[in-house]
Each structure stands twice: as structure tokens, then as C-alpha cells.
């Protein structure tokens, strides 16, 4: 795999406010890479620097081998982007927007095909104002792809969408990757990052506090598993002898076994051995949200591996 985007020790301040303190990560070709963090963590500043829209104070940035600070013009033809809080004029029609943005890049994709691909053919002559949230999102994706980019930056693309439209937007992101385009996804939604990203960097207060695959981060930072089942058995203390089990609590017939590692399989085996075969045995794993809350609630000076 080759890195298509690299960020090394990026630093950017707005006057006295440190937006990005020290951010480094690399995005590999063909993956969906997430930049996850609370509002104000420095995510947007980072991607804006990567697109050459802002000048970094220090650090080394490379996108497709180009330096966004000095080769922005070249970069333009090869990346696509959807910035947060951006819009089109109310009265512009769908085809006019695509035609206009296509004219920016010589040899751009045929926007008529994009209309078809992104389900906008029926809305060709509709004005931007008349589009639903989901349709606008599809138009923005089509606009971001009109120059046949190798990398697209999507900043908070699902903010403000209803749950159904968010799911549609997620499918769009996966469809972008399916055509071979690398995606850099900026979001503050944990479920979105967990569902979509191959790898991600969690950013807080201008620093990367953790990076890896969603599952890898969960295993490392929130390895707890909670196994739940119902049982009328009087004595369940034998469960403490199962490797990895840390606590057994019960409330009436409902039992909760907390632990780490493959506790679900081991607890299940032990129960069956004892002739206890609950029908509602299930495990709850931590989600990215727990990792996120754990990592981002630390004090700023504390180092996180």
C-alpha cells in the first residue's frame, strides 16, 4: 500500500488560539480514513490545510506527492472535496452546478454520467433550494467527483441529516470507495466512523490521541466485554474461574458477567458444561464511543499511547 496523504507534525494557530498543535497521520490508497474528534478539535483546520485552503504554520503535508502549500493549483484537479457549511445558490439548477464545476478541470468527467450514477437524473432541472437533504448530499458528492479525483475530502457530510438520509450518505461514501477513490472522512459521529472507516485518527485539542482500525482501538482502549443471560441457578460463582472474567453481578434472574478477551465463548462453554443453556446469551462490546470518551476526557498534558 502507498500513502496518498501524509501529515507530519502539522501545526496551525489562529492568533492566540492553537487549532492544531501536533497532528500526524498517513492515509493509504483506496481506504476510507476517518478523522474523528469533538467540535473544535482541529479536524476541519487539518483538512483545509491539506487542501491548500489554509497555510500551515509548520509541518510537512503531502497529498498525492504534492505540497498543498505551493502546488495547490495542481492538486485541485486531483482531489475532490465537500466542505462543511457550504452551499450552492438557491436558484441554481442541478445540471448548471455540475456543468460549472466540470468546467474548472480540463478533461473532467462527463457530468451527465454522474447525474445518472448518483440518482439525480430526474432532478436535472430542479433548483438547489428545492432539493431534499439527501439529494443535496448526492449533488455535493457528484460535484466532488466531477474532476475524477484520486482522493476526496468529506467534512461533516452527515451533520444535519435525518437518520434515514445519514444511512444513504454512508452508502454514498462506500460507493465512492468502491470506484477506487481514497476517502478522508471528517466526522464527530462515532457510529459513522465505526461503520465506515478502515482506519481512523482520533483528534482532540489539536493532537492525535489514538490511531488505528476501529476494532483495534476498541480492543486496545476499551477491551471490556459484558456477557448477559438469564438463569435461575442459585450459585454462579464458578464463573469467576473462567479466564478473563472480572465481575459477576445478578439482579433477579438477569446475570451480567464483565471481563476481557474471549469471555463470551468461555462463559458459554462453562455454562453448557454445567448444564445451563440460556436462550438469551449475548455479549455487548464497547463501541468506538467508549474509546472516544475515554481518550478525549483526559487532561491535555497527559500522553496517550
Amino acid at each position: 500500500m502507498t500513502a496518498v496523504v501524509t501529515v507530519e507534525h502539522l501545526r496551525k494557530a489562529y492568533g492566540p488560539v492553537m487549532a492544531v498543535d501536533d497532528i500526524s497521520f498517513a492515509v493509504e490508497e483506496g481506504e476510507i480514513f476517518g478523522v474523528l474528534g469533538p467540535n473544535g478539535a482541529g479536524k476541519t483546520t487539518t483538512v483545509e490545510c491539506l487542501q491548500g485552503l489554509r497555510h500551515a504554520d509548520s509541518g510537512t503535508l503531502r497529498v498525492l506527492g504534492l505540497d498543498p502549500q505551493t502546488q495547490g493549483r495542481e492538486l485541485r484537479g486531483r482531489v475532490g472535496s465537500q466542505l462543511q457549511e457550504s452551499a450552492l445558490p438557491d436558484r441554481i439548477r442541478v445540471w448548471e452546478a455540475l456543468d460549472l464545476f466540470a468546467s474548472l478541470t480540463p478533461g473532467a468527467a462527463d457530468w451527465r454520467l454522474l447525474l445518472e450514477q448518483w440518482g439525480l437524473a430526474g432532478k436535472r432541472k430542479a433548483s438547489f433550494a428545492s432539493l431534499s437533504g439527501g439529494q443535496r448530499q448526492r449533488l455535493f458528492v457528484a460535484l466532488a467527483l466531477v474532476n475524477e479525483p484520486q482522493v476526496v475530502f468529506l467534512d461533516e457530510m452527515t451533520t444535519g441529516l435525518d437518520p434515514a438520509a445519514r444511512r444513504v450518505a454512508w452508502e454514498l461514501v462506500e460507493a465512492i470507495r468502491a470506484r477506487g477513490t481514497t476517502v478522508v472522512l471528517v466526522t464527530h459521529f462515532m457510529d459513522e466512523a465505526e461503520r465506515l472507516c478502515d482506519r481512523l485518527a482520533i483528534v482532540d485539542r489539536g493532537r492525535v490521541v489514538a490511531a488505528g482500525t476501529p476494532q483495534g482501538l476498541i480492543d486496545l482502549h476499551a477491551p471490556q466485554v459484558l456477557v448477559r443471560f438469564s438463569s435461575a441457578a442459585a450459585d454462579l460463582d464458578f464463573l469467576y474461574r473462567v479466564p478473563g472474567v472480572e465481575a459477576v453481578t445478578r439482579r433477579g434472574e438477569r446475570v451480567e458477567v464483565a471481563g476481557t478477551g474471549p469471555v463470551l465463548a468461555l462463559v458459554a462453554a462453562t455454562l453448557v458444561e454445567r448444564g445451563l443453556i440460556p436462550t438469551d446469551l449475548r455479549a455487548e462490546r464497547a463501541t468506538l464511543e467508549e474509546v472516544f470518551l475515554r481518550l478525549t476526557s483526559r487532561s491535555p498534558g497527559e500522553e496517550v499511547v
Partner: protein, 246 residues
Amino acid sequence: MTTLRKMVAVELKLFLREPLTVVFALALPLITLFVLGGVFGNIPDPEFYAGAGAMDFYTPAYIGLVLASIGVVSLPAHLAGNRERGVLRRFRASWVPAAVVVGAEAVVSLLIALVSGVVLVACAMLLYDVNPPQSALLLVPAFALSALAFSAIGVMLGSLIPTARAAQAAGMLFWFVMLFLGGAGPPPEVLTGVLQALRHAIPLTYVVGLLQGPWLGSGWSWVDAGIVAGIGVVAGLVTIRFFKWE
């Protein structure tokens, strides 16, 4: 170049789809023409309008008024609205050059002004027997210079004023002051004291002077031309310094 052409085409369509700007740029000067033309007619009166017929005097002034309405009402509201709503941000993300965004506005203003001006002059000549310009040849550069200056004022205001609502409010204020004091309202001869001083402080006065010269036969005014060009250059420089995408 292709992008500028497409942007002009799109902006032109957007302009025509926006009722406020169409009313201000195309309809209002015509209404003013009908009302004042009906009141004053075109019989020369030696006491007013430097001895010219009222409508001979007002027709070039209304052309100036069209330019002013584009420059202080339509353009700033449009540009500020696009910034406020994130349209400029979207353009910037796709690397639309600032020169294309601003340049397209200027070109569209010129085109609208030209159409509006021609309609206005045609109506004035047909309805009120307004005399054709004494020097059509000098009228062309006078019009071009004036249109450029007001385009520059428009993009400057659009760059300085943060929101569309503020731009509309400020634009209306400027426009009415210009309407009454800039030579398209009461005859300059009746303005006294503060009003006369204000008259000399607004750009439209010089634009009207520049347009009336070739029209009424007093020729090209280098003073007015210099002032109008100066205003345009200053507005352009302010735009370059203060233009903001977001």
C-alpha cells in the same frame, strides 16, 4: 476562460431568477422615468437643468441610476448572501479563482446595465421625445467607465458587509440617497447647504455628470472621469485587500 464564461452564464440566469434585483435594475428606473417624465415633460426651462429639457437631463441620469442600483443594491446583497450561505466556500473548495467569482459579477453587471440602459433610452425617446445623445461615441467610454466603477463599488461593499440582510439595508440607504441627491432626483439647482455638500460626496453625482456631458453636448468631463475612475480604482483595491471567502 471557460470557467469565467460558464460562471457569467450561471450568474446571469441567477440574476434573472432573483425578483429583488430584477425590479431594482430593470423596473425601478423605468417607473421613475414614467412618473417624472409625466410630471416634467421635456420642454426646456432656463431656470433648471442647465437649460436642457427635463427628460433630456434625466435620461442619462437614470442610466447612472441603473448602474447605482446594481452597484449598491444587487451586487453587494448577492455577494454577501453567497458568502453567508457558504456558496463562496463551496466555490473555493473547488478552487474557483476569486477573480472568476468577482469578474463574473462585474461582467453580469455590465450586461444587465447595458440592457436596462438601452430599454430606458428607447422608452425615453419614444414616450418623451428625448433627444438622442449629442455624442454617442463619447457616451460609450462614459458608460463603460461608470459601469466598471459601480461594479467595483458593488464587489467592495459585498466584500466588506458580512451578511445579505445588512447589505440590503445599507444598499437601500445608499440607493435612496443617490436617487435624491445624485442628479436623478430634484434638479441640482434647488439643492442647498448640506444637501449640496452631500451631493458632492456621492459617486452617482460624478457618474451622472460624466454621462450627461456627451448626451447634452457639453462634451467629455475629465474631472468627472477622473473622479469616477478614482472611485473605481479605490474600490477595486479595497476589494483585493478585504475580499473574504467566508
